[in-house]
Structure formats: C-alpha cells, structure tokens
C-alpha cells in the first residue's frame, strides 16, 4: 500500500494552487456578486491545458488521469466553487461523455477542442418532469433517413448558455424505456433549432450559468449518435458515476477552505481575554472538521486511484459524492458558527461559501438518490433487488 502522490501529481497541485490563488481567488467575490461566468479564467485554464487534465495527450489532454482531475477540482473549489462548477460541467460530464462513449472520429472532432479549451461543453439531461427520475425524460428524437430530429426542453443545464457542444439524452423508442429506448446525441449549439431559454437565478454558485435549453426540431446526422442507439441512459449514468467522484473532490476543497478560514479566525479573534483557539468549544469544532476532511480526502483519492487503475468504483463514487457534499456543508456551517456575525456578513467569504455548498447535496444526483444507489448495491450483494 502506498498513499503518496506521484511527483507529477505533486507538481500538478503546485501549478494548480498557484493558478487558483493568482487567477481564480481574486475574482471569486466579484463573479458571485455580478452573477457572471469568468470566461477570462476559463480561457487561461484552457491555454495551459487544465481543461483537458484527465484526457490522454492524443486527444489534446494533459494525461494526468482522474487523480489529476480530482486535484484540479479540489484546488479550484478551495478558492471558488463557481469556477469549479463551470469546469466540472465542462470536463467531468460534458467532455467526459464523449471520451467514454464517443467513436474515434467523434473524439477527434469534439473531444480535442474541448480538452484544449477552445470550445465548451455541457451535459444535457434534466427536464421539468425528469430530475432524479432521469428515465422519465420526454425529449424525443425521431429518425429521418440518415438524420435524427430532436424536440424537447431541458432544464438546469450547467454551462448550457454558452456551451458550443452539448451531449443530450432523448427518447428514441417510447415503447422500450430506459433500457433500449433512450439515446444520447452530440449537438452543436450553432445547429438550427437549438435555443437557450431562461436562466436560473440561483442561491449560490452564482458565477456559473444554469440555463434552459430548447431543442426545436434540431436535425443532427446519425454520425452524432453518442454510443449505440438505445443505450444512452446507461451511457449517461456511466458518465455521472465519474462526475460524482469529482464533486466529492470539490466538496473536499470547499471544506478545506472552511477549515483554513476557521483556523485563521480562531488564531486572531479574542473573546474573554483569549484567542478563540484556546476555547475548547472551538477546538472541538476544528478537530471534527479536520477529521472529516481527512476521511474525505482518503476516500476521494482512493477512488481516483481505483478509476486510474481500472477497478470498479460505482458504489464508492456514490459514497464520495454523498459524503463529500455533506462534509462540505457541515464544514462551512461550522465555519460560519466560529466566525459569528462576521461569518453572516456578505463582506466575508464564509457567507458565499455557505450558499455555494448547498447545491452539492442536490445536483448530479441528489443525496437521496446516492443513498438509494449505495443501498441497492449492498442489498444486491445479498440477493435482494431494490426496485425504484
């Protein structure tokens, strides 16, 4: 057993931390306040190869694997959850779905510019009546000769408003349902009939864009089918498994930031003639945060290692997402309590962190869904099939 990071991952973290502190952190409060996507940061991330961190070099990536990607998400989320959300939607689910199931031609055509950061991706699944129940989507794709015509409306699409390339799930055979009746497609945003609808006015991650997307008779070539016809649902779930791991990494970064702020505050804030660090109540809070963060860190990087070494990881990825989001939420809640009134003020980053953390318990599969996934896997090993 060896728990040390390789020298390339140590060097990668140093590079990313410097980037995060120099380029990302100074904008975090501003993009939250203005509710704008930091395109200048995304452009710089692309230029130095970080938007292709986990993809092989032959597809324009960096070749740092899932471990490298988790390092990126952890370090970005440590300073700005909006930026890590934009990046996660681009790499972790948008581009990742093409990497996992695309043909060699599709990878050359779509993945290469995405990995280089020349184009942006979104992963388009949720509908008004199909959230956790993803198989209940109604967006239709009908075959016409060598093309497919896609009709439907998708909601809560991260990066949807500016993505150049989206992967979208549509019903191709209503008689078959999730297994056999749903297909994934690659759609370019400049195709006729592709429209951006309303933008969500969100509680947190306000520096990320969440938009409605309307597919009004979008015609795509049969070459743009991602994976096999009828296997889109399975393909999308596979992508989400990986996405869950990196959400846990982002939760780790957010929790670490909450702990760092709390330590700094406990060292300087005096009450009753002593710094807060000398109060046992605060010591216990800090100790609990640090313990949960270390447990999460071990889980995140162990699962990243399992992905990189080709081991099954679905069950643990659900645990990483669930635990990461809850540790993140608890850590920022504790940090707010340690900071008192100042933590509640918009002049301090704790308040932003508090709003940003909450979404992690919801998006990319609610924590309730994660618990169902985990329990189903456990019961299956004991011969019991859980029906949704």
């Amino acid at each position: 057993m060896d728990f040390t990071f390789s020298s390339e991952h140590v060097a990668l973290r140093r590079m990313i931390r410097e980037f995060a502190e120099t380029e990302v952190a100074p904008l975090a409060a501003e993009i939250d306040r203005e509710g704008r996507v930091p395109f200048e940061t995304l452009k710089k991330l692309g230029e130095i190869g970080l938007l292709g961190v986990c993809f092989p070099q032959k597809y324009g990536g960096m070749g740092a694997g899932e471990t490298g990607y988790c390092i990126l998400m952890e370090e970005l989320a440590r300073v700005c959850t909006s930026t890590s959300t934009n990046v996660g939607a681009h790499i972790g689910i948008g581009a990742m779905s093409i990497y996992l199931d695309g043909t060699e031609e599709q990878k050359q055509k779509y993945l290469v510019p995405l990995a280089r950061g020349e184009k942006f991706a979104a992963f388009v699944l949720t509908e008004a009546d199909a959230g956790s129940d993803a198989a209940a989507i109604r967006t239709r794709a009908v075959r016409e000769g060598d093309s497919w015509i896609i009709d439907g409306t998708k909601t809560f699409n991260t990066n949807g408003s500016f993505a150049d390339i989206v992967t979208v799930l549509a019903v191709t055979d209503p008689t078959l349902g999730a297994r056999g009746g749903i297909t994934a497609f690659i759609v370019e945003s400049n195709m006729p009939g592709f429209k951006v609808g309303t933008h969500e006015n969100k509680m947190g991650i306000r520096g990320s864009s969440t938009a409605e997307l309307i597919f009004d008779g979008v015609r795509v070539s049969h070459e743009n089918v991602l994976g096999k016809v009828g296997e889109g649902f399975v393909s999308f779930m596979k992508t989400l498994d990986l996405g869950r791991l990196t959400l846990g990494a982002a939760g780790l970064g957010g929790a670490q930031a909450a702990l760092d702020w709390s330590i700094r505050w406990a060292k300087t804030r005096k009450q009753f003639g002593q710094e807060l660090a000398h109060k046992q109540s605060v010591q216990w809070m800090i100790a609990n945060m640090a313990m949960e963060i270390e447990a999460l860190r071990s889980l995140v990087y162990r699962v990243a290692w399992m992905v990189d070494t080709g081991q099954p990881f679905t069950q643990l990825a659900a645990m990483v997402k669930l635990y990461g989001s809850e540790v993140g939420s608890r850590a920022i809640d504790t940090a707010l309590q340690i900071h008192g009134g100042l933590g509640y003020s918009r002049d301090f980053p704790i308040e932003r962190g508090f709003r940003d953390a909450r979404i992690s318990e919801i998006f990319e599969g609610t924590n309730e869904i994660q618990r169902i996934v985990i329990a189903s896997n456990i019961f299956r090993q004991h011969g019991v099939r859980i029906r949704p």
């Binding site: 060097a11 590079m15 130095i48 190869g49 070099q57």
Partner: protein, 282 residues
Amino acid sequence: MRVIVILGRVLDPSGIVVKGKAGRIFVNREEYVLQPADRCALEAALRIKDAALAGLRPSQDVEVVALPRGPLPDDDVLRQALATGADRAVYLVGQVANLPYTDDAAAVRVLAAAVERLGGADLILAGATTMDTGQGQLGPRLAEALGWPQVVGAWHVAAADGRVQAVCQSSPLLVGEEGGGTSYVTVEADLPAVVTVLPGVLKLRYPDGARLINVYRGVGEVAEGLEQWDVADLVDMESLKPLLERRGQDFPPERERGVRIDGTPEEMARVVADALRQHVGR
C-alpha cells in the same frame, strides 16, 4: 543562441514563522519554491526564446538551458524549468553539502566549468538576489570568472544580434536627478554577457500541462532534456572549499507596537508632525 538560466530554491515563506524573541525560525511546512528573482530570470529567458520563435529574428534559434544555483538535494527546480519551457536542464550531483547556506564562490567555480562543458553560451541570466540569504554575488562572480561583461539588477531583458539590452532602474547619481522620482535606463552589453534580474516584475508563465506531466513522469522529448552531470567530472573537488563560514544567526528587533491617534484632523496631523520631527532629530 544559447541562454543559460540559473535557478535555486527557497523554503516557501508562507510555511515558516520567524520568532526573533525565541531566536528561532519555525518551519511549519517544509516546501520549497523557486527563488523569486530566479523565477523572473527564467521568464526573461523564455521571452527571449518567444521573441525568436515569433519570427522577429528568424535567423536566431534560442536554446534555454537551466543550471542549478548551488547544491540541490533533488532536481525539482530543473524539472519546473523544463515544464515551463526550457529546452535542457543539467542537474549537478555530488556538490558539497552545505545547504542551505550556499557559497557563491564555490558555486561559481562549478557553474563556470559547466558552461564550458556545454560549449559556452551567449547569455547567462540569474536572479539578482536570493530571498533567504540575501546574496547577490553569484551573477557578478560568474561574469568575472568567465571574463564577460555584466549587467546587475535588470527588470526586462532582450537579446539579439550579438547584444543584450537590459532595462534597469537608474541610480539618481547616474542621471543627476534631484530628490525622488524613478527613471529607467536601458543598458547594453556585447554578448556573451551575464545579466541578473530583479524579483517581482516579470511574472513567470504557468507550465504547459502536458509538458509538466511528461517531465515529472520522465517520458517523452521534454524529459530527455534533463541531464545529470557529476561535479567531480567538472572541477577539482578540493577547490570547492567554502569561503563562507556560518558562525551564528541574529534576528532583527521585534517591531514596536503602533500608537492610535484620536482627535480632529488638525490635532492628529500635529501629533504625526511632532513624532516625525522627533524621529528626524534622533
């Protein structure tokens, strides 16, 4: 054209606490970063390469080679240089282990021999000062050892057509200035030359992601740029006896607490003016 850049490392200052009263430096996190001035020297070297690549002077092919400032326990700073865009780097092993108090006189003997073994160079860039020991001798000593002209304390450096141009902050004496005000002069020298670069002006670019992974993983063309030479093959080890002897350490006095001034602006100004007068009179 060959540009050599000399790089060293320093304990990350954010990981240490200096306690003068206790007479100790507490190392909370032992991590090393590139010397800040050497970072700027590396960026200066890469910009000279960029200018050549941009076709401004297509006849010149610039090769950037990184050498270590003194004895190093690992080749990390050299890999950083390769990841950031240097073409070659030479890790010198077997130097006298007198870290972290490097002896520039000894280091220069090794460097001069390394430059010779590389087949010479057109320009050598190094940081003007080190952050830990505050030394600025390496560049000037190296220039003297090689018999080359030197420019000390440059902010920007350009090189072409057998000459180097360095932008330096002018000394008020040099241009006959009265009082404050900063002006800059461009100093030129014939190549080969040694130029030392000040910290803080040139922002070192980020490494290229794929290069970084390859150079640390030890694969591909970039990693092949890392060579390892034994110091014993370059110089007589007996000649490397350090001139510098460390006899102890001292700390600057603790900063005194400030005083809070209250009152109307006029009253506060008077208090400040009195304090200044007293200070000047001392």
